[in-house]
Amino acid sequence: MMVSRPRAAVNGMRASTLGFATVLLALLLGGDGMAAEITGKVVDPSGEPLAGAVVFVDTLPAGMTAPAPAERTAAMDQVQKQFVPHVLPVVAGTEVSFPNHDQIHHHVYSFSRTKTFELPLHKGENAQPVTFDQLGAAKIGCNIHDWMDAVIVVVPTPYYALTDDAGLFVLRDMPPGTYGVVGWHERQRTSQRQSVEVVDNTTPITLTIDVNPPRARVPARGGARSYE
């Protein structure tokens, strides 16, 4: 079995040519049958796993167009005065709804360049969904509860994953070729990008992201002391 290895430096032209040839080969051999995956781990410089990191493909092999994402909708819930999930990766063009399953009102907003919007005081599931069509990270907040925050990461292709508590991720159903893979974390000082050549089966990589130290979470929920 041939296993590709990640390359830190990229020669764009060579990668493109190689990628194109690989994609062509894959198409000739039957496309889906060749789909592989990139698996890996996101760690900080000391080797500690990073949970809640987003790993996504930002460049596809030459000649390949991004497949349509399986999901065009996503939800960021409001439960116990917290956004759930705290980090939500979506493909550009995804409609995100903000159901509020608390018994109090929330006032969701974002001033980020990626998406500026607000959903005035609402409860239940009747707030209008918001379409995220610009790439980037949108910080989400609640105008009433300062401690509530979350990030929606808008990525360009449907190849993305969120790392688990062990920092692990899998990017599935990837035709062979050379991909630009980005590792992103909310606390990153600098993100990391690798060019990864996928031939078949599983391609393991490790992404190291230099992050700021975690901060103590602000009181988030509980009891009658919390105001609306």
Partner: protein, 413 residues
């Protein structure tokens, strides 16, 4: 081909190659997330045009039951229109390390009537709250501790920003009183647990010093409806004798104790709340009031947009020497409907004080109706209109009844 065109094409090609080699560089900035500051400052200002009752307000030692009243001209009363800064609130907060967070709220207000006169009753700057808090929690439940100056969290109305009512401008008589005299300097613990199905059970208990005169206002002045938030440094007027009472006045060295619990259903239709407070007042000490009460309430959202809140209070208060022992009662249902940015609310208040010494010194029986319209817009702005009508048999014979309207603009940051 001209030289300029060649240069342009060459530059374009170079730019394209650079872009193709590192497309993420260009996007990098867009993926940056601003880190939240350890410090935060929230502010709220509420400006009003108000026409209150004919009689001077309780805030000016008058018999008026609502926050803004008229002026006395000899034996006659005159209804006046006021421009008021109903609330200017600042809420600084800072993360102080080890998961603790310090929070405070200070308020100031003032008003000017159509004759150019200001009310003399306002405190300079009031310290509403100031405490440190820490949570230990996960999605299934947790604990929290609050240490400092706070108000026992019994009110189901004062749950908005800067402790303002959410559904109306003026809170009920019941919760008006809770935020007048209830300040405690001490410690409070919370526990809560959420089931996998979504039900939530919560409980809290606390103890602290300060409310040794709690109860005096109901016995000597009676119930009022007011969104005035007293501070720990407030001196509130009592109706008889032009006297004042200190909100924070520890005399007997005994801490007040309180506890409460709530249960919310998994379908988020509603929650039930109960609470008990006892200031453990030592009647052997001059000026101490012994006050205890229980509260129970429901906060329901039976359908989207419809809020129904019901709360009742029952308690007793007494002091040494004067025949002012009283049983206190208050109850209110409020129904509110929100459609998009619009909200309409209607509340009925029922309140009473029974003089347990057999006299008529503290006796009161009254009710009130409140209707409010609130419009939220542009994230931080709100305009609201409210009309309140109060009837109480405590007011001296011949004193006109209380009613008044308010037009409010609120900005919060």
């Amino acid at each position: 081909m001209k030289l300029g065109s060649v240069i342009t094409i060459a530059l374009t090609l170079v730019a394209s190659l650079a872009s193709a080699q590192s497309p993420y560089d260009e996007a990098d900035e867009r993926y940056e997330v601003e880190e939240k500051s350890r410090f935060s400052l929230r502010a709220l200002v509420d400006l009003r045009v108000v026409q209150g009752s004919e009689v001077p307000s309780w805030q000016e030692n008058g018999p008026g039951k609502i926050r803004y009243g008229g002026i006395a001209d000899g034996a006659a009363f005159e209804r006046v229109t006021r421009f008021a800064i109903a609330q200017l609130a600042l809420q600084p907060a800072v993360e102080i390390g080890w998961g603790w967070r310090a929070e405070a709220q200070i308020n100031w207000d003032g008003d000017l009537d159509e004759h150019g006169n200001t009310s003399p009753d306002h405190d300079p700057v009031r310290i509403i709250e100031g405490f440190v808090r820490r949570d230990w929690a996960d999605a299934g439940g947790g604990w929290s501790a609050v240490i400092g100056l706070s108000n026992p969290p019994f009110s189901l109305e004062h749950t908005g920003p800067a402790r303002t009512p959410v559904l109306s401008l003026t809170p009920s008589a019941l919760t008006s009183w809770l935020w007048e005299e209830g300040r405690v300097l001490g410690a409070e613990g919370h526990w809560w647990h959420a089931t996998p199905e979504g039900a939530e059970l919560a409980a809290f208990a606390g103890a602290g010093w300060g409310p040794d005169q709690m109860g005096i206002l109901l016995a000597r002045r009676g119930w009022v409806l007011s969104d005035f938030l007293s501070g720990a440094n407030s001196r509130l007027p009592v109706l008889d004798g032009n006297g004042f009472t200190e909100v924070f006045d520890e005399r007997d060295g005994r801490p007040a104790v309180y506890a409460g619990a709530s249960l919310a259903d998994p379908w988020k239709i509603g929650s039930a709340h109960v609470g008990y407070f006892d200031n453990l007042g030592d009647l052997a000490v001059t000026g101490v009031w012994e006050t205890r009460y229980g509260v129970a309430g429901l906060a329901l959202t039976p359908v989207a947009g419809l809020d129904v809140t019901v709360q009742m209070l029952y308690g007793t208060t007494t002091t040494r020497g004067a025949a002012l022992a009283s049983t206190i009662n208050a109850f209110y249902p409020i129904v509110s409907y929100r459609w998009r940015e619009h909200r309409v609310s209607f509340r009925y208040d029922d309140f009473s004080v029974r003089d347990d010494d057999g006299g008529n010194a503290t006796q009161e029986d009254g009710n009130a109706y409140t209707v409010a319209y609130l419009l939220e817009f542009w994230l931080r702005h709100r305009v609201a209109f409210e009309y309140v009508w109060v009837d109480s048999d405590r007011a001296a014979a011949g004193v006109p009844g209380d009613d008044g309207w308010q037009l409010s603009y609120r900005f919060r940051y």
